[in-house]
Subunit: 334 residues, 2 copies
DNA sequence: CTGTTAGCGCGTTCAA
DNA sequence: TTGAACGCGCTAACAG
């Protein structure tokens, strides 16, 4: 394997033109069986594999799709990514991963990717609110599928009804007889999308329906997703004599943190403090966490499948956003 | 933005040749300040961004690095990936993700990636034993860094001493006074690398040092990584009257499964059954799992940094494999 | 059915 | 310091 073989070498070795080799490689239509075999033999013996950069340049396709997310470190992202990867594995597309920390950075990323023609399509997770409309203006036809974006959506999009989810979680607590409900979340999520705000709305709705007060001193809204901040706040709230008897955490991860703080304070869960999660990530099973399941893995699959269809030229259904079902998962923490 | 601008458009708009534009773009050496400005203005006004495929073809670089792993679904992979991504973010390289299910598939993947020149470098996780030597033969100079590979290693490589780790875990149990030790693992890991076998060796060594019997009926070695199989086996073992009083699980995930089975059987952890993990993934904190920490995040960072150096032309140190430190993390399950 | 040719957009000579 | 020409390896369109 001195210097890697090119299509020219194959053509020479097979005694044909490079056009024929190319044809054999891509579909192989209109090629006599015999020459096709000669070409294949040459390919084998030269151990030839087409150079991707060249193929990309001349075909104008990158054969890769990009994933952009602000939540690289969250387990919920990993589970989505698994669904994406699994679906993409069977296609010819490469999976390229991009993270972003701020809304600005997110936007620059996406614009670069499209303009530099680095990818054929994008799966965008938690797109910043403003970006969505701008994208529709600037790249109305670029293949994009979104996950978890607030209204209005201009692209194919899969999401859950977070207002409903927040309501379901709260309702479950109320049904069990808890009346002093607290709410914990990192509103960081609202920089990208609005899920935390929606879940909170569901929480408020349920409280209101039951004529219960919404005590803001039982809330904890963190500007970012940072465990130690959450821990500190939880510690303060749960140490108070006038503490809530149940907490709705806007994500399982947050719920875990609260449970650990409760343990430190010798509070039994759920006898002294009920904790309700949201997401149903894998660790929720181990922790026996009662939670609201949103189909993370499946949403990744669906988004990917949809994008692949779009890339295949199949026009997306016009019924987006598509809402995925939520499910109450009863375990041991409420 | 009718049709995306090319370098030619920029050249024309700036009244220069394309060579000059190219020079301004890459480094910008030997360009008069005034013309450089003219070019920049043209770039701005045309909203020009260089086409990646073309750049790749003509420069012969892909500006992307590939990650290959058989363990896409494991949390330990996610944590490594975070380290990789974080380090790569500051570079100009794209992160392309590839999974593989069998050793054969793994090998084909890697060979394709290299021969198709899809990536400039590779980070290989848990390379199948045989592949490592073959790669050295077939692509002795291709930039590759490995994580968790068994000896002998022919490439820069970061790993932990799993024999030591297994010994540390077992030693901790023995020190606490447990004498009836069981061992749980999925030997799937040994299809790729040999970490499970090494950890087991450490377990055996420690037992031997203390003159304790190594009861194979207290072992559970699964051929694959599947929770429900593990659960079944654990259930059988822990239901027996002659059951172990402590279990060393070869990964935190497995430990969680065992803890859950113990709960189902009304066994208290650690009073009735001690459980020792391995890895210290994030969920181990929430679960209060006593475990052996291996630096997952950091190993991803180190591997990436090393690869970037190699790609920069800096020759890798000759001291590989590099062993990362293990740490005993005392929590509540033993 | 098949060989030839013209780009794809950019990096990189090499003169000027 | 700069412009023009060549080539990267392949796809696609066009003759034959």
């Amino acid at each position: 394997m001195r210097t890697k073989a090119t299509i020219k070498d194959v053509a020479k070795a097979a005694g044909v033109g490079i056009g024929t080799v190319s044809r054999v490689l891509n579909g192989g239509l209109h090629v006599k069986e015999e020459t096709r075999l000669r070409v294949f033999t040459a390919i084998e013996s030269l151990d030839y594999q087409p150079n991707q950069a060249a193929r990309r340049l001349s075909s104008g396709k990158t054969y890769s799709i990009g994933i952009v997310t602000p939540f690289f470190t969250r387990p919920s992202f990993s589970e989505r990514l698994q669904g994406i990867e699994q679906t993409l594995r069977e296609s010819n597309y490469d999976l390229v991963l991009y993270s972003s920390t701020t809304a600005n950075h997110y936007q620059n990323r996406v614009y670069s990717l499209i303009k530099e023609q680095r990818v054929d399509g994008l799966i965008l997770l938690n797109v910043p609110q403003t970006l969505c409309a701008q994208l529709k203006d600037d790249f109305p036809t670029f293949p994009i599928v979104m996950l978890d974006v607030a209204f209005p959506t201009y692209f194919p999009c899969f999401m859950v009804d977070d207002v409903l989810g927040g309501w379901m979680a709260t309702q479950a607590l109320l049904k069990k007889g808890y009346t002093r409900l607290g709410y914990f979340c990192d509103s960081y999520a609202d920089v990208f999308g609005r899920s935390a705000a929606f879940r909170y709305q569901g929480f408020v709705n349920a409280l209101h329906e039951h004529g219960l007060p919404n005590r803001s001193d039982w809330h904890c809204l963190l500007p970012r997703f940072e465990t130690h901040l959450l821990e500190k706040q939880a510690h303060a709230l749960l140490s108070s004599p006038d503490r809530p008897d149940a907490i709705f955490a806007s994500s399982d991860i947050n719920a875990f943190t609260i449970i650990n703080v409760a343990r430190q304070l010798q509070l039994r869960v759920p006898q002294d403090l009920a904790v309700m999660g949201y997401d149903d990530i894998e660790a929720a099973t181990y922790m026996n966490l009662t939670t609201i399941r949103q189909p993370l893995h499946q949403s990744g699959q669906l988004a990917t499948r949809t994008l692949l269809h779009v890339l295949d030229g199949v026009p997306p259904e016009s019924t987006f956003p598509h809402f995925l079902p939520l499910e109450y998962i009863a375990r041991q923490t409420i």
